[in-house]
Subunit: 365 residues, 2 copies
Amino acid sequence: MIRPAPAIEAIPATTPFIGPEQLMRDSGLSELVRLGANESAFGPSPKAVEAMAAALPHLWWYGDPESYELREALAAKHDCAIEQIVVGSGIDDLMGLAVRAFVPPGGRAVTTAGSYPTFNYHVTGYGGALSFAPYREDGTVDLDALVEIARRERPQVLYLANPDNPSGSFAARARMQAFYEALPHDTLLFLDEAYGDFVDAGDVLPPHLEDRLVRTRTFSKAYGMAGARIGYAIASERNVRTFQKIRLHYGVNRNAQVGALASLADPAFHASVVRETAAAREAYYALGAELGLPTLPSLTNFVLFDCGSVARANLVMAELLKRGVWIRKPAVAPLDRYVRVSAGTAPMRAAFSQALRDVLAQVPV
Amino acid sequence: MIRPAPAIEAIPATTPFIGPEQLMRDSGLSELVRLGANESAFGPSPKAVEAMAAALPHLWWYGDPESYELREALAAKHDCAIEQIVVGSGIDDLMGLAVRAFVPPGGRAVTTAGSYPTFNYHVTGYGGALSFAPYREDGTVDLDALVEIARRERPQVLYLANPDNPSGSFAARARMQAFYEALPHDTLLFLDEAYGDFVDAGDVLPPHLEDRLVRTRTFSKAYGMAGARIGYAIASERNVRTFQKIRLHYGVNRNAQVGALASLADPAFHASVVRETAAAREAYYALGAELGLPTLPSLTNFVLFDCGSVARANLVMAELLKRGVWIRKPAVAPLDRYVRVSAGTAPMRAAFSQALRDVLAQVPV
């Protein structure tokens, strides 16, 4: 007698990601070298840990629903007004709000085939239709194709991650500026800058506050707080007011707010993570060259290794898991012959390198 | 050129609650006795604090999107299957999922006028219409009126908090069983048991796993973790599968999962909070009797004090705030002449009592 609304019943049952905990339960492994989710192995700022530990006894307080102090600090960082910042429980949350607000049932959205699937999850969940631009043969995002599809289909929202996941590619300021200008002016660009901390501030778009641009940032990557679930959007005041109508006002963990604020006050740690991450990428490039697995240049905290074929990439991923090393791989061509390995600490990289050599000795690629 | 979808544009701009942090910013107060949000002044379990502190350095890991270990423990606690539990970032989150899943645009929902407003926020946000049963004159929820409206209007969802907020009233097992049976069988009962920890397990409904009943529990009240944003629904496997299609899979803070699991393993602390909360209620009843402010019997962690009129209740609330004591009050008759005061520790109660006496001396009620 009780049925979900037809639009909800029509949503296919999917699981956006299988977590490493599920893999451990399935495989019986009690420990994993976690290099699969682009988490920051360099951890959160010790100052953030200290601030959060001190705040734990006050966890009986609800967090500030306005995230006021944090938004103040973010507005100062991004040289915008506090009314142009909205905080959510990760970019996934903000992405859901943007899709819900701007893509009506039967509406359209455009993205890159094989890019971040949670955007697609939200579009499907809210009854929108998706169109995809494939990656270019060199593995980079095809901005021209995105513009062409957008001009043809006039989607309400276009999703772009820049730097991109899973390709690692990045379009610098002038290229992005031209891309943004070329988009139809009735399409909102959802610009996911989750990995934006790994590029120079001067290389990303300058602050734009037009209604057709929503940018998102996160504390999950360079700030090492993926488990805290806290991210934010920089958007026009009008768009922020729209999010304000539908967001979960008490959705953000209080300790995440405390940790995020303390993280912003520790730029030295942030800079060290960016340096360590770049060093990890260099180590991966060298490893790939040594082992005959070509890598793609990345401006993120992960590197793609070319295994030569989809089957081999799947095999390498499965064999690494048996050896306690968890990585992931892109699912869509032309990136599906690669495996994606997150930046690890030196000991994690050593474990990965050892396991990879072991796999390749048994499974020549 | 960029506009939200018409259904979103039509949503009125509202703020579900003004947080105490905003009140402090507005008033310039640097500290508040927090008795306004039914937070648990007895704090989280020290074992939970210890577990969360130990887990902070791992905050760079995403949490388990399945909350598997926690769901295992919850299934054991509630004598149901793990497939009948879904974890969200607080009941507010789960309420949003239920409304989104079951109330289509133009659909209907029924609730008690003046009860928890976040349910109404979600119904309005998803384009549903609300009908209300007023509280009875004695301040209790009018279950008969809810049934009558439900039979007439056949809403997709009926919301009931039991024990109820803000009245504090409670319908025990036999009464609830009769109420549930009397509802139309095509109406889903969203039974919010946020305050269910404060009544004996034998007094709430036994586990029901029909599609027309979704029950929710939280770690925000008796477990003292409101800032962690973690709650759960107990529902049929079919309803859980529906939530699975639309929930934010990575929406729950990892440390909240850790703390919730550790809390469940500390039943002695939980029992002590329930006892302390009951003692706080008794102290409030006695204070109300002494000061000529009749109280309503409550089975929650708050008590309503009758100020005689709406104007006086507003005045008492405003004057208490000036004295650094933060409480709230119901907004809808007949409860709007009351103020609502959360259970505090003995020092918090002393501060409240002192401030209240001071207010009454100047503003006779």
